[in-house]
């Protein structure tokens, strides 16, 4: 046999050996693979800014309190976690925590109140620039928003301590739900160096999982922490976050069984995925809504010296109501979202059952009403060109939306046709996301379509407060002094019923002014393999409490 023939034979044998490699590796018994779109950049909860980073560090580092979503009541419920119990003082001026005896870091050092003190100090330190810097509004802080440890924490024993709230502040347990970090590990690192420390990639953690392996840009493998009081040998033993940047590839992999869970699945894939018996589809509605922002103020006047003047097209609540009447939101909901979403009428999500005002009826699709409202505001087609005009100006504008969202492209096309029917000319312009956001902050756009991902617990002030300096997220520049008073009151100690009444009044006023057109609550769709048992997909997310999952192997 010549050398050529021999090498050809060897290549063929090699190729066959490759092809005979089973592409599905023998999976460990209790392994679950979660598909995510991008890698994390840290395992330190201080700097876990992205959603995936947040979800992963919460599995590595426990908090004093565990928050779960109470579906029945539509609110968060607080349960002990690192603390075996907590007790409120009669006047709610402080709270006492009692730490568990069986809590350890993965290097076997016991978790003590010193770690809690250290964590609160570091999270609020301006030199550290943690993701929670400036958010400890209910605690004693100095001018630099740094928590005053002496006034705030009173350590009573190796497992008991009090946390005191600031005198006039609304006591807030959620602010204390921070993942606790180990003092003995991070103490030696300078505050300013923490962000770049190599320790951020080698976590000494306390959670139900610990980092087994980080294959950058490929996989993050967590294994059950047998030292943890949450450990159960019957439950999932290995959790792999597989980084698959391409959405289509993530869908193919869940269908093929290479991935067991994916989030943020698009509605256009639902029909196809329903054909796979081993896959469960779970839509969660109420965390995110799409809206059309109508700039309430004149962008030119604002940019040339910060003057606040009503927008020539969208300055009037009646015009904005007319626009909402003119848009057929149900058509978008049924055709694109396959009925999985829900029409939005105000920014309070229906998941907050106590705060949500069911009595508010949304502005239905009604061209006649839309035309009448516009006519009342002086808009008429005086020159018979098919476009409404007023004082010589046509009702014509450009709707902007960020690139890469087919739902918005579909919705914009429907809107263009809907508005044309009432005599409004709308152009569409797609912007790169960074440019789009830049324009929103500069208040340069007249009209746009975007979404808000709502925080839990309910937070309204950042979006709807009139002070445009302190509320950069109020992109539409909506201003209403009654709303401001309500939002201020919601930050004070008031009885629950009064709080609920304020929330309902807020929704009523927002509905009356219609500062934006609330489109629909978008379904956040998760798809998982039915072999995962005991999974609870809630508004808090999918992988939270995943240490309680088990795997049913065939």
């Amino acid at each position: 046999m010549s050398i050529k023939k021999l090498s050809f034979f060897l290549i063929v044998v090699f190729l066959f050996s490759l092809l005979s490699c089973d592409s599905k590796p023998p999976q460990s018994k209790n392994r679950i693979v979660v598909g995510i779109s991008s890698d994390v950049k840290t395992f330190n909860p201080l700097f876990a800014f992205s959603v995936d980073e947040g979800a992963i560090v919460e599995l590595l580092y426990l908090s004093l309190v565990d928050f779960r979503w109470d579906e029945e009541k539509g609110e968060l419920k607080s349960l002990p976690m690192l603390a075996r119990k907590f007790e409120w003082a009669g006047d709610s001026s402080f709270i006492t925590f009692f730490l568990r005896d069986d809590i350890f870091w993965t290097d076997s050092v016991r978790i003590t109140p010193d770690d809690v003190v250290f964590s609160l100090d570091v999270y609020s330190d301006p030199l550290v620039q943690s993701r929670l810097y400036g958010t400890f509004k209910s605690l004693h802080t100095n001018d630099e928003n740094h928590i005053d440890i002496e006034k705030t924490i009173e350590v009573k024993s190796s497992s008991e301590f009090n946390i005191h709230f600031a005198e006039d502040a609304l006591p807030n347990l959620y602010e204390l739900g921070i993942p606790i970090i180990p003092k003995h590990v991070f103490d030696s690192v300078g505050k300013e160096e923490l962000v770049t420390s190599g320790l951020n990639f080698n976590p000494v953690s306390s959670g139900p999982f610990k980092l087994k392996k980080w294959d950058k840009n490929q996989t993050i493998t967590l294994e059950a922490n047998e030292q943890s009081f949450l450990y159960d040998p019957e439950n999932v033993s290995e959790l792999v976050f597989k980084i698959v940047p391409d959405y289509t590839s993530r869908i193919l992999q869940i269908k093929k069984g290479d991935i067991d869970l994916v989030e943020l699945v698009k509605t256009e894939d639902i029909e196809d995925l329903r054909g796979y018996d081993d896959l469960q589809i779970v839509p969660v509605v109420g965390r995110e809504y799409d809206y059309v922002g109508w700039n309430n103020i004149d962008p030119n006047e604002f940019s040339s010296g910060g003057k606040i003047e009503p927008h020539s097209l969208f300055g009037s609540p009646n015009v904005r109501k007319a626009l909402t009447h003119a848009i057929n939101r149900n058509e978008i909901l049924d055709e694109y979202l396959l009925g999985l979403g829900e029409i939005a009428v105000a920014p309070v999500s229906p998941i907050f059952k106590k705060a949500f005002d069911e009595s508010i009826i949304g502005y239905e699709y009604d061209i006649v009403k839309a035309k009448r409202l516009l006519e009342d505001e002086g808009w008429a087609d005086s020159n018979n060109d098919g476009i409404l005009d007023k004082d010589g100006n046509d009702f014509s504008f450009t709707l902007h939306y960020p690139a890469g969202n087919p739902l918005r492209e579909f919705a914009a096309t429907i809107m263009k046709n809907n508005l044309k029917a009432v005599g409004i000319e709308m152009d569409m312009e797609v912007l790169e996301l960074g440019t789009f956001i830049d324009n929103l902050f500069a208040k340069k756009l007249d009209a746009w379509m975007a979404a808000w991902y709502i925080p839990i617990p309910l937070e309204l002030k950042p979006y709807w407060y009139s002070d445009l300096e302190s509320t950069p997220l109020n992109f539409v520049s909506y201003q209403n002094s009654t709303i401001d008073k309500i939002l201020d009151n919601l930050e004070t100690k008031i009885p629950l019923q009064q709080r609920i009444n304020f929330y309902k009044k807020f929704q009523e006023l927002i509905h009356r002014d219609e500062p934006v057109t609330f489109l629909y609550w978008i379904p956040n769709i998760s798809v998982y393999n039915r072999k995962i048992k005991n999974i609870n997909v809630s508004p808090l997310g999918t992988v939270t409490h995943c240490w309680e999952w088990s795997v049913k192997n065939n």
Partner: protein, 330 residues
């Protein structure tokens, strides 16, 4: 002796001009990224984050400083070899770039080797066979492959070989149980994962090089010196290896250098489709998140590799034909 001195002098000149080119490149980029819309601190604005955090972060990025001050300190640090810290990764830019670059360099080198080898073998085979039917068929197929975008080819390969035939993995560089494999199994596993991406990345290059090589080989074969050598009794294989191929391949080396430079800059679509950690993804992510230091780091790496790849191509040309040394270096 004089020749050596000239060569060293020319090399120094070339090195210096390359450094100046790269400095100009990063200076231009520094200005462009700051002129473009977007703010790196924007992602720190949300209802869950405090406005005070954004202020602190903007301050720490030195974005409040006048642009000229930012530029001068950037340039001084860049000359010292410090490109700053990535806003997103919170790591020195060069560390982040190296993590991605190491994969990209290997991926690009494998791809260029495959492109050259396959196209060379294919063109020699076709020229030697002298079959019009084969020639037309391969030419048409290579034209189709060349005009197919990488993302179409990649998705097609995944659909056929991963989804339908289940022969190759869908994405990634290694299996989840990679660590438990033997050394040989590890190697096979990595090759198994990389085959489809390499085909996606190399297919267009193979088609392009094939077209050039086939024409060049045909031209050289028809030259009189080849016929004279045949008449003098030299074997066909000797003529091909020692005379035809070196003559035919020479004009291609410059193009291969440029192709290698482009490949080393990253192959975004292939990297995204197959979930590979390359420079293409890093560059786009850094642009989208307005990570200014990292954008400049990526561009500098791509620029430096392009310069290096071209230099490499020139060296190969000089090795093939020493008479070209002066012309190339001059």
């Amino acid at each position: 002796m004089n020749m050596n001195k000239e060569v060293i002098k020319a090399l120094c000149k070339r090195f210096l001009s390359s450094v100046i080119t790269l400095l100009l490149l990063i200076s231009l980029l520094f200005i462009l990224v700051r002129l473009s819309p977007g703010d790196p601190a924007q992602k720190y604005i949300s209802a869950e984050l405090s406005p005070e955090l954004r202020e602190k972060i903007t301050e720490s990025f030195n974005l409040n400083e006048p642009v000229l001050n930012q530029y001068s300190s950037f340039l001084i640090n860049a000359i010292k070899g410090d490109l700053g810290v990535s806003y997103d990764y919170k790591l020195p830019v060069l560390t982040v770039v190296w993590e991605y670059l190491s994969f990209t360099i290997i991926f690009a080198l494998v791809s260029i080797l495959i492109q050259l080898t396959v196209s060379l073998y294919l063109s020699v085979f076709i020229v030697k066979r002298n079959s019009r039917f084969l020639d037309n068929s391969i030419s048409n197929i290579s034209l189709i492959i060349y005009s197919t975008p990488a993302f179409v080819l990649g998705v097609f390969l995944i659909y056929v070989f991963s989804v339908q035939l289940n022969l190759f993995p869908l994405s990634g560089l290694k299996s989840l149980d990679y660590d438990s494999f033997s050394a040989v199994a590890k190697l096979i596993d990595q090759i198994h994962h990389i085959i489809l991406p390499v085909i996606t990345l190399s297919a267009a290059g193979v088609a392009l090089f094939y077209k050039y090589l086939k024409e060049n080989l045909g031209n050289v074969y028809n030259q009189t010196f080849v016929q004279q050598m045949r008449a003098n009794g030299f074997s066909e294989s000797y003529i091909l290896k020692r005379h035809v191929i070196p003559n035919a391949i020479r004009p291609l080396i410059s193009i291969a250098g440029i192709e290698l430079g482009i490949l080393m800059g990253g192959a975004l679509l292939t990297e995204v489709i197959f979930g590979l950690p390359g420079m293409g993804r890093l560059t786009i992510d850094s642009i989208l998140s307005r990570d200014y230091p990292l954008v400049i780091g990526c561009a500098l790496a791509a620029g430096a590799l392009m310069v290096f790849a071209n230099f490499l191509a020139d060296l190969v040309k000089m090795l093939i034909d020493k008479r070209m040394t002066k012309g190339i270096l001059g």
